[in-house]
């Protein structure tokens, strides 16, 4: 069954500016917070002078590490806890990175809070810092030897890659640098905290309301049921909102101490230096092909940054091992400890840059073999998963490549670099790359209610971050129950109902929709039972009235294939519980093929991207409109990541220097040409009842390498770092 192309259910509010984001909440008696942050890269606070800050008229409180007795850290999301990092600022005098908060000022007005925060003075004892992969003092730790759980974070090995590589007829060896980048959701990180009779309400746009709730419970030693987290709509998440932020507990503490609600909207510059980001990474890729041109060996060695206080695990080779049917693969991953806040997930966190390193090397190998880059990829597709030997639940890589090539007009491409010039000397380059992303699944509970007034309410674990989960839920209920999508009232991101597991990793739809679908089928069954032998063709409303019922409630649960039911205990504790891509009987992934045209101006060498064709295998497309929108967004992210975005680091100071949206260069409309999205739209037969795999992240994967490959096609230059800027092609 193909799903109707319904408009976004929240489009009207958004366009009218009626959608309420966190900062829009103005509660009676609201006080405003502002953080003061450390200016050193590492060390400790020797003294703090808050007198001047306290003297600013309207200032009600200056919280420092001397005021947080009894609080404890919520722990690190990937270390059994709930926070973006284990380091909770203001619990001690130690400074781990530039930008770590040293005080929270709260005042009657935002202006007073800002003025006072700037007046907080600290003296420090400073230590030497290392903030880049190669800096002296950066500690290197092999993930295989780290305390991170195995086999999840073991090396990825199939066959004998090194042996096969040395026997290979043709080899490529390339090292690729990935820069630190920030997610920069439009909505700033913000919190409104309010206490009432010992109960805490947090309004904060998040991808993980349950982690906020349980994290705050841990910080304050409170029962989780005394805490409510509301996140009806986030203005983008992209991984940065996946856990308890550094400031949230401090805002809650201030609200409790002052006995009035407190709001903090974190300025962009502070977010750069005190929230998660995409870490710098370095990739060495070695590929070998046999005499027939078949790829027989691949080695992918990766170093990436983590903080001194947490181990942010790597998962790059888990993707690259599965892009092709390469029998001998070895992935080795190492953590490099720097004096930074803990990095984290940013859209296609590992896959974007892993694919960039790998797919540029594959392109180089195709060229070394004199093969067309599309034909070479088609010829090297995988039949089964190289790492586990299991089948793929569905894999339409070849279809993505072939349909993309046709739509793009690939047959008109000439192979030689620099061979496709325009009359005015403009260089034209056409590039291709594959993308893939795990089809992960998290457990979800859905509750569905139909009332005798004809209303339909659905509540499910999931968060709306603008990706369109409400629309997909509405569409699912509408199709299943045969009602208009507008009739469906949706509650997500609210801990007052069903558990709100982390929405990330492109598992949102594959998590929420099967649960909703199951609930809808349960509802139909229940209504049929109530209808009994009564007259046919009655509305739900009539059936309920005739049965004397005000409403009917049903519930349904769904989890990943192979997960035990006990997994819902983890969900109830706010802990991550997603599975995939390797399930007991199969491996499930989404795939895409990206085709890109670049044009490089003859003299100034400006790089433009007039055209992208993206063909995606994400299983069934449940919500065509938001699906297309995901592709557009993913491609724009890819263009930004490839050609523009870098979080600049000055190794003398630590932190990030270009910490605002004027200087951190995300693309603008004028940078974007046409983007054509095409879907294979084949339901996956195994992964879930809806046949949906993930979409939101795979669409970014492959864009950057397709651009870098196109630049090679235009110029003959193999570039091995991002972003590629004008100085690289002059």
């Amino acid at each position: 069954m193909s799903h109707p192309d319904i408009p976004r259910v929240d489009a009207r509010e958004k366009v009218r500016g009626a959608t309420q984001y966190t900062a829009d909440h103005a509660l009676p008696g609201l006080a405003h917070g502002m953080l003061a942050v450390a200016t050193i890269g590492r060390g400790r606070i020797l003294s703090l002078d808050t007198d001047a800050a306290r003297r600013v008229p309207g200032v009600r409180m200056v919280l420092t590490h001397l005021d947080t007795v009894g609080l404890q850290s919520a722990g690190f999301l990937l270390g059994g806890g709930y926070g973006f990092q284990s380091l909770q600022p203001l619990l001690g005098a130690a400074i781990a990175y530039r930008g770590q908060p040293i005080a929270l000022v709260v005042a009657d007005t935002l202006e007073a809070a800002r003025e006072a925060a700037a007046l907080v003075r600290a003296t420090y004892e400073q230590d030497a810092i290392s903030v880049t992969l190669d800096a002296p003092g950066a500690e290197i730790l092999a993930q295989a030897d780290s305390p991170l759980p195995k086999p999840a974070f073991a090396d990825r090995v199939a066959g004998d890659a090194d042996g096969a590589l040395s026997a290979a007829a043709t080899r490529v060896d390339a090292t690729f640098q990935g820069p630190p980048q920030h997610q920069n959701p439009m909505e700033l990180l913000a919190t409104v905290a309010e206490w009432s009779r010992g109960e805490l309400t947090i309004r904060e746009s998040t991808q993980n309301a349950e982690a906020l709730r349980h994290g705050l419970a841990k910080v304050f030693g409170l029962a989780p049921d005394r805490i409510r987290v509301l996140s009806p709509t986030a203005g983008g998440g992209f991984g940065q909102r996946n856990s308890l932020q550094a400031h949230t507990a401090l805002v809650a503490l201030a609200a409790r101490e002052l006995g009035r609600p407190v709001k903090l909207v974190v300025p962009r510059a502070q977010i750069f230096n005190n929230a998660s980001f995409r870490p710098a990474s370095r990739h060495t890729v070695r590929l070998g092909a046999d005499a027939s041109g078949r790829m027989v060996a691949a080695v992918h060695e990766i170093d990436h940054q983590t903080s001194r206080h947490d181990l942010f695990p790597l998962s790059y080779a888990d993707l690259t091992a599965r892009l092709y049917g390469i029998a001998n693969f070895r992935g080795r991953e190492r953590l490099v400890r720097n004096d930074i806040q803990t990095p984290g997930f940013a859209r296609a966190p590992f896959e974007h840059i892993a694919a960039c390193a790998f797919e540029t090397a594959v392109d180089e190998l195709a060229y070394a073999l004199g093969r067309d880059p599309v034909a070479f990829r088609v010829a090297n597709d995988a039949a089964t998963d190289p790492l586990t030997g299991r089948p793929f639940s569905s894999r339409h890589v070849v279809a993505c490549l072939e349909r993309g090539a046709e739509r793009f007009g690939w047959e008109r491409r000439t192979q030689a670099p620099g061979s496709m010039r325009l009359a005015d000397g403009t260089l034209v380059g056409w590039g291709v790359a594959l993308g893939a992303y795990k089809a992960a699944t998290a457990p979800a509970i859905a509750m569905l209610r139909v009332t005798d007034a004809g209303e339909i309410f659905v509540s499910v674990g999931g968060h709306e971050m603008g990706q369109g989960i409400r629309t997909a839920i509405a569409s699912t209920v509408a199709v299943d129950l045969g009602v208009p999508a507008e009739a469906v009232n949706i509650l997500v991101g609210n801990t007052g109902s069903v558990p709100q597991h982390l929405t990330a990793g492109s598992w949102g739809a594959a998590t929420a929709l099967p649960a909703v679908h199951k609930a809808a089928l349960n509802m139909l069954r229940e209504l049929e039972r109530l209808a009994g032998n009564g007259p046919a063709n009655r509305t739900f409303q009539q059936i309920l009235r005739d049965a004397g019922r005000s409403h009917v409630d049903v519930e349904a649960r769904h989890h990943a294939p192979g997960q035990p039911d006990a997994i819902f205990d983890r969900v109830a504790q706010g802990l991550p519980a997603a599975a995939g891509p390797a399930y007991p009987d199969f491996v499930s992934m989404s795939f895409c093929a990206q085709f890109v045209e670049v044009r490089i101006e003859p003299r100034t060498r400006r790089i433009r991207v007039p055209r992208v064709v993206s063909v995606v295998d994400c299983g069934r497309v449940v919500s065509p409109r938001t699906a297309r929108s995901q592709v557009l967004g993913g491609v724009v992210w890819g263009i930004g990541a490839a050609l523009r975005e870098v979080s600049e680091v000055d190794p003398r100071y630590g932190g990030f220097v270009n910490a605002d949206l004027a200087e951190y260069v995300i693309p603008v409309n004028a940078d974007i040409g046409t983007i054509e999205a095409e879907f294979i739209d084949e339901p996956d037969p195994l992964i879930n009842s809806m046949g949906v795999k993930g979409l939101g992240e795979v669409v970014m994967v492959g864009v950057a390498p397709a651009i870098v490959n196109a630049i090679h096609h235009a110029t003959g230059r193999r570039l091995r770092h991002l972003p590629v800027r004008v100085e690289d092609v002059l």
Binding site: T39, T604, R606, D650, D671, V726, L730
Partner: protein
């Protein structure tokens, strides 16, 4: 950011009087897109702010005069950019506006304030812990051994190599614009070329204006090279970004050779940078691509690049070449 007194006079004379009575730390406020930004960053902290946006007489501009174009200091960037006559007669002056900032900023910002925008050097804007001679005289220059991709290759000193970031002033300096001012000492006119100072040993002093001096208008003498002009800007994205390199060029051709040449550079110098070196290469020559290339190279002959900005020697020269090719086409149109 700190509390400040806000005053909104309605005549230039009142504004001058308010400034005279204001004492040190008093600033004029036009659109606020530079001043408020720097106040929020803590880089500027005036105690008294004189909002001049109600000086309606200074909001007018006239691009139709026989001898000169006149822009009141409070004309909005967006209005100037949209002026049809300017687009036709002086495309460089119009394009320099269009390619600056964003529509939202252009709606707020005024042309007087535009001239006085301050550098984007990250260490200047970033505040503590960065050393910056411009922000805190004598503290040093973090950009020297740091991230200098955005810094100047021309007109820098040991103390500071911050780029003058604006676009319009670059186009204005190419056309020999003049700035009229008013102060308690009366009116005076300053050639735009003399408005901005090179950093020397006092990078905190950016202009030759006295602190109490109000820009009232900008005048541009009419030029035969107006129609043969363009403002070409290369940046990290195609809108809402400052120039990596830019060139305002204008040419008048006569009997197949360049009879009048105006070349100014942006993104690479500490002030709006006129290049007589490039102009001299052009004068009397047919405007071929080779000649344009030579002009571009000549403009950067004296460049002294740092660590991350050396590519701008080549990029800047190519920007000039491109601009000259566009200008030639326009100059050749009847």
């Amino acid at each position: 950011m700190q509390s400040f007194t806000y005053i909104r006079p309605s005549t230039p004379a009142e504004a001058i009087a308010a400034m005279a009575g204001g004492g040190p730390g008093t600033r004029f406020l036009a659109g606020g897109t530079t001043l408020y930004d720097l106040m929020k960053l803590g880089v500027e902290g005036p105690l008294r702010v004189i909002d001049i946006t109600r000086l309606d007489a200074l909001a007018r501009f006239d691009t139709s005069g026989p001898h000169e174009l006149v822009f009141g200091a409070l004309a909005r960037m967006s209005d100037v950019a949209a002026d049809r006559r300017l687009k036709e007669d002086y495309p460089a002056l119009s394009e320099a506006m269009w390619k600056a900032a964003s529509q939202q900023l252009r709606n707020m910002a005024r042309v007087g304030g535009n001239l006085l925008q301050r550098t984007r050097c990250a260490y200047f804007r970033g505040g503590a812990p960065f050393a910056c001679n411009k922000r805190e005289p004598g503290s040093g220059c973090a950009a020297r051994d740091g991230m200098d991709r955005g810094n100047a290759l021309l007109g820098a000193s040991d103390a500071c190599a911050a780029v003058y970031p604006g676009d319009w002033a670059v186009a204005l300096v190419a056309f020999d614009a003049v700035v009229d001012t008013l102060s308690p000492r009366g009116e005076r006119s300053i050639p735009l070329a003399e408005l901005h100072r090179e950093p020397g040993s006092t990078p905190e002093v950016e202009t030759t204006l006295a602190p109490d001096e109000l820009i009232v208008r900008i005048r541009v003498p009419r030029s035969g090279a107006g129609r043969g002009s363009t403002y070409h800007k290369i940046r990290d994205r195609e809108s809402y970004a400052f120039a990596l390199t830019s060139a305002a060029v204008a040419v008048r051709l006569s009997a197949g050779v360049v009879a009048e040449a105006r070349v100014a550079l942006g993104g690479v110098a500490t002030r709006p940078w006129r290049s007589p070196e490039a102009e001299n290469v052009l004068l009397g020559q047919p405007l071929t691509e080779d000649v344009a290339q030579s002009a571009g190279q000549a403009a950067f002959a004296a460049a002294s690049p740092g660590v991350h900005n050396a590519f701008k020697v080549e990029l800047g020269a190519q920007t000039i070449t491109d601009a000259l090719m566009i200008a030639r086409q326009r100059a050749e149109q009847p």
